[in-house]
């Protein structure tokens, strides 16, 4: 039997197919079941979608490579749960395309950072992390405050996301640019229209504190503030031990 390879090696095309077949076994075994096993992604009712401004912030997060130092996935380990909060559930990244779980942690996990800090803190921290955390090694992202956000095309981003399964309505796609503006302008008419479309729970704020322009900082801070808050399901998890604790697992 071990000698049969000699025959295969002499037939280039058959050999290529054999390689593809063998190499795909591992992938198929891992991936295919995810489409059929219900348990993989939990069903939740209160799952929200990212608003256009948050999508824009997510794009900046990807562009700047924040995922190279920050994960967004709290694992089922005691120290992680005690430090960051309830472990991540699959449904929480249901609308993440691509997902940003990451595997490298130079900085802390960000899966539950939403609302842990104020907008003003995030702005100060992103402009220069050393302003608020003297020993930080995180790079400074001061230009986010200078760059005006390009958001005219947010409708296209939303419709691309809809193609891969995020339930944006036609209305949301049509008004994406206006909603991007509205979310960062509390008190404006567009802010009211935005809240009507995305719900009372959504965050309307003057994220970067600058009332004159919509900057990339606005978008990124809006995104950071929603992390872990698209659904409450992880907090309601039936395991009673999965309570909110943060007893300080050290530094």
């Amino acid at each position: 039997m071990l000698d049969k390879h000699a025959k295969l090696e002499r037939n280039a095309l058959a050999f290529v197919f054999a390689i593809i077949f063998v190499a795909s076994i591992g992938g198929i075994v891992e991936i295919a079941p995810l489409f059929t096993i219900d348990e993989t992604v939990e069903e939740v009712e209160d799952m929200r979608v990212y608003t256009p401004l948050e999508v824009a912030g997510r794009n900046i997060y990807i562009r700047e490579g924040c995922y190279a130092c920050h994960s967004q996935m709290i694992r089922t380990l005691q120290d992680e749960v005690e430090r960051y909060g309830p472990y991540s559930l699959a449904v929480e990244s249901q609308y993440d395309h691509p997902m940003l779980w990451g595997s490298k942690r130079t900085g802390p996990d960000l899966a539950r950072v939403g609302e842990k800090f104020s907008d003003a803190w995030h702005v100060a921290h992103l402009i220069n992390p050393r302003n608020v955390v003297p020993s930080s090694v995180m790079p400074s992202y001061a230009w986010l405050m200078r760059n005006t956000l390009k958001y005219e095309d947010m409708g296209l981003h939303l419709s691309a996301l809809r193609k891969v399964g995020v339930p944006y309505s036609d209305e949301m796609i049509e008004n994406a640019a206006q909603d991007t503006y509205g979310q960062a302008r509390p008190g404006s008419e567009r802010a009211d229209a935005f809240v009507e479309r995305y719900g009372e729970e959504s965050n309307v704020s003057l994220f970067d504190g600058d009332p004159d322009r919509i900057t990339e900082m606005d978008a990124l801070v809006a995104y950071l503030q929603i992390l872990g808050r698209l659904t409450d399901v992880a907090h309601q998890s039936s395991d009673s031990a999965q309570q909110t604790t943060s007893t300080g697992s050290g530094d």
């Binding site: 079941p33 089922t76 309570q243």
Partner: protein, 293 residues
């Protein structure tokens, strides 16, 4: 293609390929490689039996150990909760004043509270709790809302200017941006605010503005900062007569405060931290305040 033949030097057969007289030996796979290959196959079979592995249409094989990550972490957490129970119980039920009088309790607060503070609060208030621009010092004995333990505990639970339903609200209006005061009036008020703490620094021109500033202050500011500018704790308005400033006491910063307003946000913690942790932090904040003095 030549015929496979025995190589005279190694005693092994050749493959029968030949390139310009160079022939290829057909060396068998070394034994250790075969051994470890077999071993990995064996280990994987063992895993299939013990752990959740093979998926099928609507589920997956659970393995005879019946291991579930979520259950494991739940067990770990309840074990650590049991370890904490001894002091958690004490800290979440005992009266705060009684705890402050209890030396053992305070020793624990100093070690454990310091860690909680570093993890959750130091990013804004600083590791030494002395604050920074926009984030108030917690050790200066100048409180926005009050330094009693119950007041601090409440501030920690609901936050300031947050989404929490019981949040404390504190807003310094944008007098300039909203057109409530014009540039002249703001200049006069700025001088007046400076005069409250450092009257000797004012130029002659500024001193001349003080009567106007005083009047404007009584009309616009006293409702929150009090007649004398010493602040009102009911509305979280700071004392303007001392030398401590959240945002800054120089003329430019005060003017910016008056123009654009301020609305500092202190996050709420009652969903991130449990009762014992919050009370521990309250005691910790009061304790470092007392020690710094």
């Amino acid at each position: 293609m030549t015929k496979p033949e025995r190589d005279p030097y190694t005693g092994l057969m050749t493959t029968g390929h030949e390139w310009n007289g160079i022939k290829e030996l057909k060396t068998p796979i070394p034994r250790p490689v075969k051994f470890f290959l077999a071993l990995t196959i064996l280990v994987s079979v063992l895993f299939w039996v013990l752990f959740p592995t093979w998926p099928y249409g609507s589920g997956y094989t659970k393995g005879i150990l019946n291991i579930d990550q979520r259950q494991l972490v739940a067990e770990d957490l309840s074990r650590s909760a049991a370890l904490r129970a001894s002091w958690e119980e004490k800290f979440s039920t005992t009266d705060l004043a009684a705890l402050e009088a209890d030396a053992d309790a305070m020793t624990f607060v100093r070690s454990h509270g310091a860690r909680l503070f570093k993890d959750n609060c130091a990013a804004c208030h600083g590791t030494d709790a002395a604050g920074g621009p926009g984030f108030p010092s917690l050790v200066d004995d100048q409180w926005l809302w009050g330094g009693e333990s119950e007041t601090i505990l409440e501030t920690l639970k609901v936050g300031i200017n947050t989404r929490h339903e019981d949040t404390r609200n504190a807003e310094m209006l944008a007098f300039g941006d909203q057109g409530l005061l014009d540039a002249d009036q703001i200049r006069a008020l700025t001088s007046y605010v400076v005069s409250l703490s450092r009257a000797d620094e004012l130029s002659e021109k500024s001193v001349a503005q003080l009567p106007q500033g005083k009047e404007l202050f009584a009309e616009n500011c006293a409702s929150c900062h009090g007649e004398t500018g010493k602040g009102l704790r009911d509305v979280g308005a700071p004392n303007l007569t001392d030398d401590y400033w959240i945002y800054g006491g120089d003329v430019d910063t005060i003017r910016a405060t008056l123009r654009h307003g301020r609305k500092g946000v202190m996050p709420f913690w009652d969903q991130r931290l449990n009762e014992a942790d919050l009370r521990l932090l309250t005691l910790y904040v009061r304790d470092i305040g007392a020690q710094t003095k």
